[in-house]
């Protein structure tokens, strides 16, 4: 559906994007994960034809996109990173204005506006000036304005920054619904949990380059670090503790009645671990997995933390 080839962009001496190539399939929810200054916004800006690339090409539905293709523009909705609304207009009027720019028939537009006000829970504040809205309400409206013309493709640039968990969950609900409707989405974020929760496929971007790409599982596999399982026993005697370390190796940590076992490819070795414990003759009361997160992958790939 969207094919990006060798996209590059520099601002003076700063290289914001370097030979970025991507393919996004129809209905896919693609996450672009990267720290501040990675080039996410630049990428979205180029895709939404606001900024022109230095080189490279973009195809949407097989058609090459340039700055003036109105037909392609009509299929796309963009949620900008900054809140871009008319503060002196009401929520309703903002939605109406943005919808009108897409030339949607009045009756249909009216329906879309009401629906979006409902979805974003802004119905009872729809006639209030946006200036009086809370940060979370503005974020939701900012999102709604990108959907008012019912686009097939949505680009979202960090649509949840700076809002409370409640508003954030509200937005997740909306996004998951979009996903069900089969809308193709590119979603940038620097929140790991978001990417893990929402996206089918994730690209990790740093210094303008995609340094890793794949589904969550694929990315996890790329992570060479170990995973661990934390097992709580009924009662651990001194002998048994020694035995556990002997069986599971030096990295095993025993603390009170709890034992943390670290290993590569935990998923494959889990059965083996359980049977070994069984052989020692211990009773398990609780098990906790410490899965690998994108955080550690990111750390491994770039040598730095995502949020720094």
């Amino acid at each position: 559906m969207i094919i990006v080839r060798n996209l590059s962009k520099s601002f003076g001496s700063i290289t914001a994007l370097k030979e970025v190539s991507l393919e996004i399939r129809k209905g896919e929810f693609y996450g672009l994960l990267g720290p501040n200054g990675a080039g996410k916004t630049t990428f979205i800006n180029i895709l939404s034809s606001v900024v022109s690339a230095d080189s490279g090409s973009i195809f949407v539905d097989g058609e090459e996109m340039d700055m003036h293709t109105t037909e392609i523009k009509k299929k796309i909705g963009v949620v900008p990173q900054e809140i871009a609304l008319y503060e002196d207009l009401s929520a309703h009027d903002n939605l109406l204005f943005w919808g009108k720019n897409y030339g949607i028939p009045a009756a249909e537009l009216k329906q879309n506006v009401e629906q979006l006000l409902h979805i974003t829970s802004l119905e009872n504040r729809k006639n209030d000036k946006v200036a009086h809205f809370s940060g979370g309400m503005k974020r939701r409206l900012n999102l709604a304005c990108a959907l008012v013309h019912k686009p097939d493709i949505v680009f979202m640039d960090e649509p949840t920054v700076g809002i409370d968990p409640q508003s954030r969950n509200k937005i997740y609900d909306i996004l998951q619904n979009l996903q069900k409707e089969g809308i193709t989405t590119i979603y940038t974020t620097h929140y790991m949990e978001e990417a893990e929760k929402l996206c089918n496929r994730i690209g990790i971007i740093d210094h303008g380059q995609i340094i890793a790409e794949g589904t969550l599982q694929q990315l996890r596999k790329m992570d060479q670090s170990t995973e661990s399982i934390s097992i709580q026993f009924e009662k651990l005697m001194g002998e048994q503790k020694k035995e556990l370390v002997e069986v599971f190796g030096e990295t095993t940590i025993v603390n009170g009645d709890t034992c943390v076992i670290s290993t590569y490819q935990l998923d494959l070795k889990l059965a083996e671990i359980i049977s070994k414990i069984d052989r020692i003759g211990l009773n398990i009361t609780n098990i906790d997995f410490k899965k690998k997160s994108l955080e550690t992958l990111f750390l491994n790939l770039t040598g730095k933390k995502l949020r720094e």
């Binding site: 601002f11 630049t42 800006n45 939404s48 034809s49 606001v50 900024v51 109105t70 523009k73 009509k74 796309i76 963009v78 900008p80 900054e82 809140i83 871009a84 609304l85 008319y86 503060e87 943005w98 720019n101 897409y102 030339g103 304005c145």
Partner: protein
């Protein structure tokens, strides 16, 4: 308290441009106004002014007077006939016409008050006043000396029978004598020159027209500048970027702003004129079509100016300071603040590059000179032209300056 003052001073000093502006701008404006208005109150010699002269007498005396006036520094005599001259004054093309009526030569030789008329445009009273001050001593001197000379000559020729040659010699000596007396003019009486204002109706005062037209244009410029700056506000708030994402055409954004400026300034102008009509009695009903055309063309030219301001600026702050400077200068030069006619001639020539000039001139044409629609339309035509040119320049610059968002 002191801490706040120090902080604000620090912030102020960080903006080098603003610092420079706040000190240089007043100096620049003072100089500009000094040049614009200063010349008007100094002696007139630096500033040749045109005066139409209709000589209906055509005697040796009237011709001599004409030569004398012509030789005056700073006065440029344009010969016309009386009717033509008065028509030109009526239509605002000239400030006045000096008419030497029939019988001037005779009156001079018989030492009675000679028939000298100045028909003038009362809208340019101040200018005429200055002209009068320069003119009257010369006229007085000429008439007095000429009368005396003629009297002496008459007496000599009456009382002595002399041959032509001797007579000519004596006349030459008389001339020489009187020539040496020039400059020491005798008693001054202002009533040597009869002043007749040329106006059709006496209802509208030019001061009122100046007030409404001058203020109207300046205020409209300020309000369109605000609309222009809203483009940059949109740029700063991110809505411009969002607009660029939509299928809206890029020039559509600029034209949208132009349209809103046009609509609002048209309404503002209508309100201003209706107010002046209701409260100060400016009879706007005498020519509604001309008024509407002038209002619309003024609004259009101003709107073009508004979008140009937006297009040449990088930020809202810049538009705001830039617009104040440009509007003040343009309004001063274009005759919004002070009537144009008291400015030096070269300043008046510069004025034609301002929106204010054509607009104010148009309103004078309607209410003061009461010109027909086609003549008023000339101003409107120029204004629409200015508006078009500004819009085209703006849309070119707009793409370069404003639409660069990231």
């Amino acid at each position: 308290m002191i801490n706040i003052a120090i902080k604000d001073l620090k912030i102020f000093l960080t903006d080098k441009k603003a610092v420079l502006l706040s000190f240089l701008l007043p100096i620049g404006l003072i100089s500009l106004f000094a040049v614009a208005f200063g010349g008007a109150f100094k002696n007139d010699t630096q500033r040749p002014t045109d005066l139409m002269l209709a000589d209906e007498d055509s005697t040796a005396s009237s011709i001599a007077l004409r030569q004398k006036l012509d030789s005056m520094k700073g006065l440029n005599i344009i010969p016309v006939n009386k009717d033509e001259g008065i028509t030109r004054v009526e239509s605002g093309k000239s400030k006045g016409v000096l008419v030497i009526s029939k019988g001037f030569g005779k009156a001079v030789s018989s030492n009675v008050n000679p028939p000298l008329h100045l028909y003038y445009d009362p809208a340019r009273e101040m200018e005429i006043g200055i002209l009068q001050q320069a003119l009257i001593p010369t006229l007085m001197e000429y008439v007095n000396i000429e009368s005396a000379k003629q009297a002496v000559k008459r007496d000599i020729s009456k009382n002595f029978q002399l041959n032509e040659e001797i007579m000519a010699g004596i006349y030459a000596k008389v001339e020489e004598f009187f020539a040496s007396r020039e400059g020491s003019s005798a008693s001054k009486s202002m009533d040597i020159l009869e002043l007749t204002p040329v106006i059709k109706n006496k209802k509208a005062s030019w001061g009122l027209i100046q007030a409404v037209a001058g203020v109207a244009v300046m205020m409209i410029l300020f309000s369109v500048a605000a609309i222009g700056s809203s483009v940059l506000e949109e740029k700063e708030s991110g809505t411009l970027k969002r607009l660029l994402i939509t299928p809206v055409k890029r020039h559509g954004i600029l034209l949208g702003k132009l349209l809103v400026a046009l609509i609002l300034s048209t309404i503002q102008l209508i309100i201003m004129f209706v107010f002046t009509w209701l409260v100060f009695g400016l009879n706007i009903l005498i020519d509604i079509p001309s008024l509407l055309v002038m209002i619309f063309s003024t609004a259009f030219a101003c709107s073009g100016f508004g979008v140009l301001l937006a297009a040449i600026s990088q930020s809202r702050k810049q538009v705001e300071s830039l617009s104040v400077i440009i509007i003040l200068v343009m309004s001063a030069l274009g005759g919004s603040m002070v009537p144009l006619f008291i400015m030096p001639a070269f300043m008046q020539k510069i004025a034609i590059f301002s929106v204010n000039y054509w607009s104010i001139n148009g309103f004078y044409d309607i209410y003061w000179r009461e010109l027909p629609f086609n003549e008023v339309f000339l101003n409107a035509f120029v204004l629409i032209g200015i508006g078009l040119v500004l819009t085209i320049i703006s849309s070119l610059l707009f793409k370069r300056n404003v639409l660069k968002v990231s």
